[in-house]
Point group: C2
DNA sequence: TATAATTGTTGTAGAGGTACAATAAAATGT
DNA sequence: ACATTTTATTGTACCTCTACAACAATTATA
């Protein structure tokens, strides 16, 4: 299967929202969108617009590629590198 | 005027494309979109989807917020800080 | 168990993003 | 000046994103 064409986008919305102990409603308020929209995003019904993605990234104070990616994320917990890494994953530039 | 709601998105598409000496057609090919779409984006007729924005960022090997922003960019040339800076601009987190 | 709060589902509607075609205008090269 | 390439414009069509409403299911809490 090819790799650069369209396809779904992975994200860490649920984790991030959980981390801050927010309800969808309150997150939606903070982002200025409908609470159902947050639901749609979280369960991958569709992707946010770039506009919304930027607002989300501002809200969480994280770079976009920390929240959205065309390749699946590893759990945030692993991202810190406490354990020895076996294989490379999710490296921005790497031609996989 | 408010600040966190919708609004146009600024970008550096023309500069980046110019830097690499690409035509819209060739950039479009590289991105897998119609060449007119690149035109629409460059002249701000509409914003790319998040999907496309991510592809663009991969293509140019730059983080998204280096290419797209909800606040106007300063010229790339200034971004390097050779000259003394007078005022802060375009700082990600700063509550302006 | 009852009640409220949160999340999921379905449907409708409107705005935005992308492709494609045709044609015009502008820039470039000879 | 001419031909070719690049960019702009207009119009049509389709699919995605977002809002909103109503209702069901789930989870939390008294």
């Amino acid at each position: 299967m090819s790799n650069s064409g369209p396809g779904r986008i992975y994200h860490r919305l649920p984790v991030l929202r959980a981390e801050r102990g927010l309800t969808r409603q309150s997150l939606a308020d903070a982002l200025g969108v409908n609470y159902q929209t947050v639901g749609y995003l979280e369960r991958g019904d569709y992707n946010p617009s770039l506009e919304l993605a930027l607002r989300i990234s501002e809200f969480f104070q994280l770079p976009i590629e920390m929240i959205f990616s065309r390749k699946p994320f590893r759990p945030l917990s692993e991202e810190l590198g406490y354990l020895a890494k076996s294989g490379k994953q999710n490296r921005q530039g790497g031609a996989e």
